[in-house]
Amino acid sequence: MSEHEYVPKSKAAKWFNDRLPLLTLGAHLTDYPTPKNLNYWWTFGGILTFCLITQIVTGIVLAMHYVAHADLAFASVEHIMRDVNYGWLIRYIHSNGASMFFLAVYIHIFRSLFYGSYKSPREVIWIIGLMIYLLMMAAAFMGYVLPWGQMSFWGATVITNLFSAIPLVGDSITTWLWGAYSVDNPTLNRFFSLHYLIPFLILGLVVLHIWALHVPGNNNPVGIDIKKPSKDTVPFHPYITIKDAFALLVFMIIFAGFVFFTPNVLGHSDNYIPANPLVTPAHIVPEWYLLPFYAILRSVPDKLGGVILMFSAIFILFVLPWLDTSKVRSAVFRPIYRQFFWILVIDVLMLGYVGAMPAEGIYLVLARVGTIYYFLHFIVVMPVVGYLEKTDPIPMSISEPVLTGGAEPSLARKVNDKV
């Protein structure tokens, strides 16, 4: 995307670069023109990359000591905690790292929703991102099964049983997934295999995600298209790298707080009880990051209906770029949508909260209201508000604020219409 062609200085570098233009790629990554007005919500891409690498590195070390066998898995985790040098640290980073990964990804997704980053021409970035998110949920779920505690076992039982809701072939599919007639040793083995595989699939998708990002370039808080490079942009290095580093360090302080001082607060105490197929825990709950979907699943009295609705809650996000009819990207200039955005945030938080509660009484009512609103937001609010809303005037460029720049809404719209 750089305007000027990169030319290697030394002969050797030129020889290599002519054959594999890695140096050109490196130069592109450092020069990459980035909007200068990106706020801290934009630092979560870098933070997420850090999370992925942390999970992979700690995971590889854990896999050296872990034993994927129903009789030995729990003991091997205790072996890691007690006998492996700094095993407790590596395991706590990995288990809390999953939570931090999801915290960051939720902020990243909601940032995209607020600033319209999923809209044209960035639909493919958005869709690849959602595929990463789906794989993250699969990896996290299977990872939670590996310690073979009570919540591992019963969580696996509940989630794999969802597939039995499929008419006709449901039971066969469930047995096929288990590799047995219940969650058992073959299930644990394949979950371990897939848990090791998925992060590398995610890594591949992350490369595509960043590649797709570098075609149109970053969206920005104002949400307008900008000329690249121009006075509205800064080179990625050092401006964005240092800012990402600062945000990452703040994130790491919070991360370290969990790892060193409350390493088990995000987990469930029942998972320190070895798996027992004969004893069902009083409440089977997934990890916090899956709770909103769990609430949606349980809000429907019919099993198949619940499963369909839960998967729809994720897959509806894939068509989001086409459900949003607004020509303006950033919610900063969308006074009506902005309010609905925050209602959606509250709605999802509420769904997460009721997902942790027993599915009865007021919690069931709230789960149903929350579920209905969740779908209404995407199916009704987004298309309708996009048409009816009178948006605020949009500046012509990042450097010129609305008032001093004298941009008339009509002009700004034209700029935006080209999108």
């Binding site: 240092i242 302080i253 925050w342």
Partner: protein, 260 residues
């Protein structure tokens, strides 16, 4: 605008959580104890750990296993820190089954520090059968495996009461204020003066419950002291680095006409 929205959001969420109905009246919240191992720099009380081990060995160990601990752990830093001789003597006081030898026979020998804690029963089924159908759980990670952690374990140990009128208990079932459902198959094993503490501490029920709970908390998290110490260092390091990076960022961004 965004700020006020976030405020509204947080407020409504807090309001929502505060409106949740109280837990069912049957379960009493565990007693809150001011443990020495609580907090950011919490450490174990060494003497309490050693006394707690004595209570475990003389009382709990006749039914409960602690299969993930080894005798050597008793001498490691951050734990009861028995001396090397003491650890060897403790280990040697147990007869451990080993083998097979070159003749293919199993044999017993005195324990070594590298041996795991000897379990009172050969397997879960035997333990269950010997205890009226209730398996005495392995205590290695018990404090982490119970909601409420150390407070809960301590509360159950001191929470035995006569059943209130109207509650009938089967044979071998006891009433406990803090246990879920209030029915527990473990009898009240602690009574004043049950063990004779080597350090002369008076062995009241409360003292023994606190000591053994401290011991169990260490058993579940033997890394706790190292974790706290390392954590403080890591956070200080990260904060200093964050400040440096922040200043560098301000400097770099001052080259252009834009706010960070």
């Amino acid at each position: 605008m965004i700020k006020s929205n976030i405020k509204l959001l947080v407020l409504s969420f807090l309001l929502f959580i505060s409106l949740r109905p109280l837990q069912s009246a049957e379960m009493v919240d565990p007693i809150k104890v001011d443990w020495s191992f609580k907090g950011l720099t919490g450490t174990f009380d060494r003497a309490s750990l050693q006394r707690g081990f004595q209570v475990y060995k003389e009382v709990c160990a006749s039914c409960h296993s602690m299969q993930y601990l080894s005798y050597r752990n008793l001498g490691e830093p951050g734990g009861p820190e028995f001396s090397e001789q003491e650890v060897k003597a403790i280990a040697a006081s147990f007869e451990i089954e080993d083998g097979p030898d070159s003749q293919g026979e199993m044999f017993t020998r005195p324990g070594k520090p590298s041996d795991k804690f000897k379990s009172p029963y050969p397997n879960v089924q035997a333990a269950t059968a010997a205890n009226g159908g209730a398996y005495p759980p392995d205590m290695s990670v018990l404090v982490k495996a119970r909601k409420g952690g150390a407070n809960y374990i301590y509360s159950v140990l001191v929470g035995y009461e006569d059943p209130p009128p109207g509650v009938t208990l089967d044979d071998g079932v006891y009433y406990n204020k803090y246990m879920a459902g209030n029915k527990i198959k473990m009898p009240n094993n602690l009574m004043d003066g049950l063990v004779e503490y080597a350090d002369g501490t008076e062995s009241t029920v409360d003292q023994m419950a606190k000591d053994v709970t401290t011991f169990l908390a260490w058993a579940a998290e033997p890394e706790l002291e190292e974790r706290h110490k390392t954590g403080v260092k890591v956070i200080i390091y990260l904060v200093l680095l964050t400040i440096l990076v922040y200043l560098s960022m301000k400097k770099i961004w001052s080259r252009i006409d834009s706010e960070v």
